[in-house]
């Protein structure tokens, strides 16, 4: 479904991603692992259309979507949860969800059903639906960003470090939810520093090191063959 071929991403003179290739099949959960600065987030943002590729190709369902606009990628069914946990702080929880369904805003009935579904899935958000999103805790903001992404009814979900900076109990909850989304046959590309957690839910994994692919395989293969602690340190 997603096919990335020989991707390069640069920030000025700095090459963050150097010739990365990977694939994600329909209904698959693939994770990109690696230390800070390995090029994980740059890769995922480039797939999402938020930053431009220096060279290489991104294909979605056989269509070349390299450096497409982020709004075009969403319309093609790809929703993104960025690492920076970008809730719109001055909008209420409800308004954040409304924006998540921006491309489906004509379908009022469907949108309000989905909204209630999200509130069932995340009761904490339901309690705070009229509250400004900036006043939520980190974990609640992460839930909101994921719920907001799901409001567009995506076929593919890109998750960038959903566990970053959250308490262990909330991390467990987020990963439970990722497993649940996977069970619903959503295609997921997950970037994580928490390699152990990610490998528990992933079908396949790629290890990035200094902007290049350093290894790939099924979740068990990577878990067995790689020193997971070294991953954090860039080893």
């Amino acid at each position: 479904m997603i096919e990335v071929k020989d991707l390069y991403v640069s920030y000025g003179a700095v090459q963050a991603v150097r010739g990365v290739s990977f694939t994600v099949a329909d209904g698959e959960l693939v994770t990109l692992l690696g230390a800070n600065g390995a090029g994980k987030s740059s890769s995922i943002l480039c797939v999402a259309g938020a930053i431009k590729a220096a060279s290489g190709q991104v294909m979605l369902d056989g269509e070349d979507v390299t450096s497409a606009n982020p709004e075009a990628m969403l319309r093609k069914g790809m929703a993104t949860v960025p690492e920076t946990r970008d809730v719109f702080p001055d909008l209420t929880v409800d308004q954040n969800l409304t924006l998540g369904a921006y491309v489906r805003r004509g379908d009022r009935k469907g949108v309000s059903e989905d909204r209630e579904r999200m509130f069932d899935m995340f009761p904490r958000l339901a309690e705070r639906r009229e509250q400004a999103a900036g006043t939520l805790s980190g974990g609640e903001q992460q839930m909101l960003v994921i719920a907001r992404a799901l409001m567009s009814r995506p076929r593919v979900l890109l998750l960038d470090e959903p566990s970053l900076g959250l308490a262990p109990a909330i991390v467990d909850k987020i990963f439970e939810m990722i497993a649940e989304l996977k069970a619903q046959k959503l295609t997921i590309l997950l970037v994580e520093q928490n390699a152990r957690k990610a490998l528990q839910v992933a079908d396949r994994a790629y290890v990035l090191r200094l902007g290049e692919i350093a290894g790939s395989g099924t979740g068990q293969e990577i878990a067995g063959s790689t020193d997971l602690d070294a991953l954090y340190l860039g080893g």
């Binding site: 999402a48 606009n69 969403l74 929703a79 970008d86 719109f88 001055d90 924006l99 491309v103 907001r148």
Partner: protein, 296 residues
């Protein structure tokens, strides 16, 4: 008591006009993080449109509507001519193109109309007065207050309740994230310019209603007022722009009442000194607004 009523009406009508001006400027600034220096010329366009259709037998309200629509068109033209081609490339380029577009419009007016002020048609009501609390009050002040209340209410509703308004507020805090939710950048920016033009058009008519004539340089003062109001209130906040407009009007009106004839010439110097004091106290403006994302 008489004095108080008069003072309050003055502050509210001047403040209403200032607030609408500031809102039109900050709306575009919030999304693009760029000041539209051609903003004052939108007011000029409204004025000249009113002057040009003045000879026609149309009812005045229709003429005013045409003027507002032309200001919106000029706002959209600013986007297409000055902003869109260079927006993604460099801030400096946009500063220059928006100045250039402003100069182009002004010179167009100089060349094709006249460097001298031209009269605009105004309905009787603009020169009439009513008695409020025993004081003759110009109807145009009352009209300005009513227009400001209606437009600020309409604007608040648009930004709070409609998907377009919510999307515009989202784009102002984090444009890239809004785009990743499928909000199209060009639609949002064009809408901001159109609304900015609408506010400039209405405020232009009210502004020119005070003066009675339109000249090529008429946009400079409103641009400056709008800019200062935004700086006082906080460049990132829509409420701040409105608050800044009313504060600036309060300062101006107070100085008008208290300064002696000789000192009144230097009113702007007093105003700006007070603005500097406010900024020393609150460098980000009075209302900070949400932490804002990268310029796109």
């Amino acid at each position: 008591m008489d004095f108080a009523i008069q003072f309050i009406i003055n502050v509210l009508s001047l403040g209403g006009a200032y607030a609408l001006m500031a809102l039109g400027l900050v709306l575009v600034y919030g999304i693009l993080k760029l000041v539209n220096f051609a903003y004052g010329e939108l007011i000029m366009v409204a004025g000249y449109t009113l002057h040009l259709v003045g000879g026609s037998p149309l009812p005045w309200l229709v003429m005013a509507l045409v003027a507002v629509v032309m200001a919106m068109v000029a706002g959209l033209a600013t986007d297409y001519v000055a902003f869109r081609p260079v927006r993604a490339k460099s801030v400096t380029a946009v500063l220059i193109t928006s100045f250039a577009f402003s100069t182009l419009l002004q010179n167009g007016a100089l060349l094709f109309i006249s460097p001298r002020p031209r009269s605009v048609p105004l309905p009787e009501i603009f020169s009439q007065s009513v008695m409020i609390g025993g004081i003759p009050t110009p109807m145009r002040d009352i009209i300005t207050i009513i227009a400001a209340v209606v437009l600020l209410g309409l604007f608040a509703w648009l930004m709070q309740k409609t998907v377009l308004g919510i999307a515009m507020r989202a784009a102002a805090t984090n444009f890239t994230m809004a785009r990743m939710l499928g909000v199209p950048a060009n639609l949002i920016i064009s809408s901001a310019f159109a609304i900015s033009g609408f506010l400039a058009g209405v405020v232009g008519i009210l502004w020119i209603g005070r003066i009675g004539t339109v000249a090529p340089g008429i946009g400079l003062e409103p641009l400056l007022i709008a800019f200062i109001a935004c700086v006082i209130g906080g460049m990132r906040s829509l409420q701040g722009a409105v608050l800044g407009g009313f504060i600036l009007a309060f300062i101006d009106t107070t100085l008008n009442y208290t300064l002696s004839q000789d000192l009144l010439k230097f009113r702007d110097a007093f105003t700006f000194s007070l603005v500097i004091l406010i900024l020393l106290w609150r460098p980000d403006g009075l209302i900070k607004g949400p932490a804002s994302g990268q310029r796109t």
